[in-house]
C-alpha cells in the first residue's frame, strides 16, 4: 500500500473546479492558510472550545474519507485499515502518524505533522500553550472508528504532547465515547446538487489552459518520506473541505448564540483568511520556478495576473472563479457557480439570510491587491513585510458578496470597489 492510493482516487468536477478524493470534496491549501484558519477559530472561541470543534470536524471529514478509501482499496481488517490511514496521512501532506490502537482507544504518535512543523517554521520564537494538531487528533479518532468499524463520531482523541509545546514529538490519546449526533456526509452528490449553472469568464481562453496545466502537475503531488508535501516553496495539504467549512460555520453559530456582538469580528477574520490564502499561496505559486516553467513568469499585466489568480483558484479546487467585470484599479467583479463554502452551507446550516462565502470575499479583495498594487516586474517577495504593507495599512477597497448560493442565488458574486477618495498608491 502506498501513496498512489490517494493520487489514484483524485478526481474533479472539471467545469465547476471542485476536487475530490474518493468522491469526498477536498481542497489544496498552504500552511499559511491552514495555521490562520485554525487560529481564527481559536481566537473566536478560545483554545479549549476551538480545539474541540477542530477535532470533531477533522474526525467527521476523515471518517468519510478513510471509509471510502478503505472500501475502494479492499482494506478489510483493522491492521490493513490502520496502515491505509498512515499512508493517507502522508499522501495528504499531513505528516506521519503511527497508531497503537484497539477498539477501545489507545495512542498514536505523530512525526513531522503539517501544522506543528509549519508553526515552528512560521513562528519559531512563539511557544504555544496548547497543542496545535487538532486536525491530526480528529484523524486518529477517525482512523480508529474506521479500523474497528465503530460508529461515526464515537471516538474521542486529544493531543497530549506537541512539538510546538517543546515536546520531542506529538502524542495523541484516544478513547471510545458515546457517538455524537449524526451529521450527513458531504460527498460529491451534495456538491453537485449545490453547484449552480456555469458562468462565463472574461479571459477564459487564458485561464483554462493554465488550469489544465496546473491540474496535471498537482495530480502527481505526493508526500515525501516524512509525509509532508513541499510544492511551489510552500508546505501544501489536500484536506476535506468539510474540515474548513465545519470549523468556520460551527464557530460562527456558537458565537451567534453566545456572543453575537463578536460575529462581525469572526467574519472579518474569515475574510482575512482569504487575504492570507491569495497573498501567500497564489503569490508564492506565481513567484515559483514551477510557475515560470509551466506558465511563464508573471508579466504584471492586468490580464496576466487576473487569469493566473482565476486559474490557481480553480486548480486548487476552490470553484470556478470567473471575472465578469474589471475596471482597472477601480472595480472587480468575480462570480462562481458555487464555492467550496457555498456547496457546504445549505446542506448543513439551511438557507442563509446573508451571503456566507467569507473566504471568497477576502480572496477577491486580495486578488484585486495582486492585480492593482503589486509590482510584479520588481520580483516582489511575498513575505510578512509586503503582507503588512498591502493588508494592514487600511485597504482602499470595499467588498460585498452581492449573490450567494447559500441564500438561494444562482451564483456567488463578489464586488470589490475602490473606496471613494482612496488611491491604490502604496506610500
Amino acid at each position: 500500500m502506498d501513496q498512489r492510493l490517494v493520487s489514484d482516487e483524485r478526481g474533479c468536477m472539471h467545469d465547476h473546479a471542485f476536487n475530490f478524493i474518493a468522491d469526498v470534496p477536498t481542497v489544496f491549501h498552504c500552511h499559511h492558510f491552514n495555521l490562520f484558519w485554525d487560529q481564527t477559530v481559536d481566537d473566536g472561541l478560545g483554545q479549549e472550545l476551538g480545539t474541540v470543534i477542530r477535532t470533531n470536524a477533522a474526525r467527521e471529514s476523515f471518517h468519510d474519507l478513510l471509509s471510502a478509501l478503505a472500501d475502494r482499496a479492499g482494506a478489510h481488517n483493522a491492521t490493513e485499515r490502520l496502515e491505509l490511514a498512515r499512508v493517507v496521512a502522508q499522501g495528504l501532506g499531513m505528516g506521519t502518524v503511527r497508531f497503537d490502537l484497539d477498539r477501545y482507544g489507545g495512542q498514536a504518535l505523530g512525526d513531522h505533522l503539517h501544522h506543528a512543523i509549519a508553526w515552528l517554521e512560521k513562528y519559531p520564537s512563539v511557544r504555544r500553550r496548547h497543542p496545535t494538531d487538532a486536525l491530526t487528533a480528529g484523524f486518529v479518532a477517525a482512523a480508529a472508528e474506521v479500523a474497528f468499524q465503530l460508529p461515526r463520531d464515537s471516538m474521542r482523541c486529544r493531543e497530549q504532547e506537541c512539538l510546538t509545546l517543546g515536546d520531542a514529538r506529538c502524542r495523541f490519546r484516544a478513547e471510545l465515547g458515546e457517538p455524537a449526533p449524526a451529521t450527513t456526509p458531504m460527498r460529491r452528490s451534495e456538491v453537485e446538487q449545490a453547484a449552480g449553472p456555469l458562468v462565463h469568464s472574461q479571459l477564459e481562453r487564458d485561464i483554462q489552459p493554465i488550469v489544465d496545466t496546473l491540474r496535471d502537475f498537482t495530480a502527481s503531488i505526493r508526500g515525501d518520506e516524512r509525509g509532508l508535501v513541499e510544492a511551489f516553496g510552500l508546505f501544501v495539504s489536500q484536506l476535506p473541505t468539510t474540515y474548513y467549512n465545519r470549523i468556520g460555520y460551527d464557530a460562527l453559530r456558537h458565537l451567534q448564540r453566545t456572543a453575537p456582538q463578536s460575529v462581525p469580528v469572526m467574519q472579518a477574520l474569515m475574510r482575512e483568511a482569504g487575504h492570507v490564502c491569495v497573498f501567500n499561496t497564489f503569490g508564492a505559486i506565481m513567484a515559483s520556478p514551477e510557475w515560470e516553467g509551466l506558465v511563464g513568469a508573471p508579466t504584471g499585466d492586468t490580464e496576466n495576473t487576473l487569469a493566473a489568480c482565476m486559474a490557481i483558484a480553480r486548480a486548487l479546487g476552490m470553484g470556478r472563479w470567473c471575472v465578469t467585470e474589471y475596471v482597472h484599479g477601480q472595480r472587480l467583479v468575480l462570480r462562481s457557480p458555487a464555492t467550496y463554502e457555498s456547496t457546504y452551507y445549505p446542506s448543513r446550516e439551511g438557507r442563509a439570510e446573508q451571503s456566507q462565502c467569507f473566504m471568497f470575499q477576502g480572496a477577491a479583495v486580495a486578488t484585486m491587491q495582486l492585480v492593482a498594487r503589486v509590482q510584479w516586474q520588481a520580483r516582489p517577495n511575498f513575505d510578512q513585510a509586503l503582507y503588512d504593507e498591502l493588508f494592514r495599512g487600511g485597504m482602499p477597497w470595499s467588498c460585498e458578496e452581492t449573490q450567494c448560493v447559500s441564500k438561494g442565488d444562482p451564483t456567488c458574486e463578489v464586488v470589490v470597489t475602490l473606496r471613494e477618495g482612496r488611491s491604490t498608491f502604496i506610500a
Binding site: 496535471d216 508564492a284 513567484a287 516553467g293 511575498f382
Partner: protein, 99 residues
Amino acid sequence: MTVLTRDQGCRRDLLWRLHLPRDEVAHLVSALTRAGWEDRSMVPQVRDFESDEGHSVVFVPRTGRIQIRVFYLTAHAKREGVAHKVEAQIRAALAARTG
C-alpha cells in the same frame, strides 16, 4: 552563473536563486545527474533534483532560473551556509562536465 541571492517567497532563508547562462542550460541536467542528484522531475519544463541531504535544485530550462530549496528541517542558522554549499556543488558539477 549569477551570484546567489534570496529568492522571491524566501522566508527564513529556505529559498535561494541563481541564473544559468544560456550556453550552460543544456548541460545542468546531465551534470547534476552525474554528480548523484536524484532526478524527480514531474514535467520537462521544470526539472527537480534532490540531494542525499534532502536539499533540492529546481531548474527552469527555458529561462535558466535555478531555485535552491534548503531542506526544511535544516536549522535556521545553518541555512545560508547550506545554500552556498549547494551552489558550490552545482558549480562543481558543471565544471566537472567541461573539465
